[in-house]
Symmetry: C2
Subunit: 147 residues, 2 copies
Amino acid sequence: MLRNVGFMSAIFVAANVVLTASAYADDQDVIDYRQHIMKTMGEQAAAVGMIVEHRIPPDNFAVHAQILAVTAASAKKAFEPKVLGGEAKPEVWAKWADFSKRLDVLVTNTAELSKVAKDGGFAAAEAKLSTALTCKGCHEVYRVPKK
Amino acid sequence: MLRNVGFMSAIFVAANVVLTASAYADDQDVIDYRQHIMKTMGEQAAAVGMIVEHRIPPDNFAVHAQILAVTAASAKKAFEPKVLGGEAKPEVWAKWADFSKRLDVLVTNTAELSKVAKDGGFAAAEAKLSTALTCKGCHEVYRVPKK
């Protein structure tokens, strides 16, 4: 009987290991995942930039603002695992309180941008852009410079 | 007086040209813009793919589904200007009725995916993924193959 209990425990432990392995990613997966999120932000910020520069009509502006807000809200979870590498500087985790707070501010400000754009379009939201999209300031501290 | 009318008309025509130039993009801008939108879809679909393969936890699944739905809804406007080039095959505009209909279906199905995911998470939505994300079928017809 004791042997049976031991056997069942062994299965239970093994099952836990499998569950952990499937719920958490390996390091490259963690890096890839957060890059998918940040590239989404980059593509949408670039679309917004084209509207600001009058290179394309502003019809989709509220949609871009919404995507930026929703994506920003998904970013923190992607950076929570402390996995160095990719374009993230070690400062992301060394100064997590600051990095995390900046993400929160990004979430709040892009949500506000999205709301204003939904109600009043690009004309109403344009003045809020420089406050909402603080990409550069954060990248200067936390992203490895592009070569 | 006639000369003045002519002069004013000339100004009016010139103003129209300027307005047109600022409201509509040049060809490369049109291409760049639709690529920002499709790359957003690609990054988010890749994030979904990582969840499906259990390489990352499904916590953000509903957010990815929402972004896919909202982005899909913004895509048609980006393809409306008939500007060949980039990765779009000429078939996009030669078979616009079909291309446009496929985009509508994508919008409907990703919106449904997003709704189910919001209510029931990844577990509830997973079965709808293959119906919602028909990237490959559409790309085979309308996108220039990657080299």
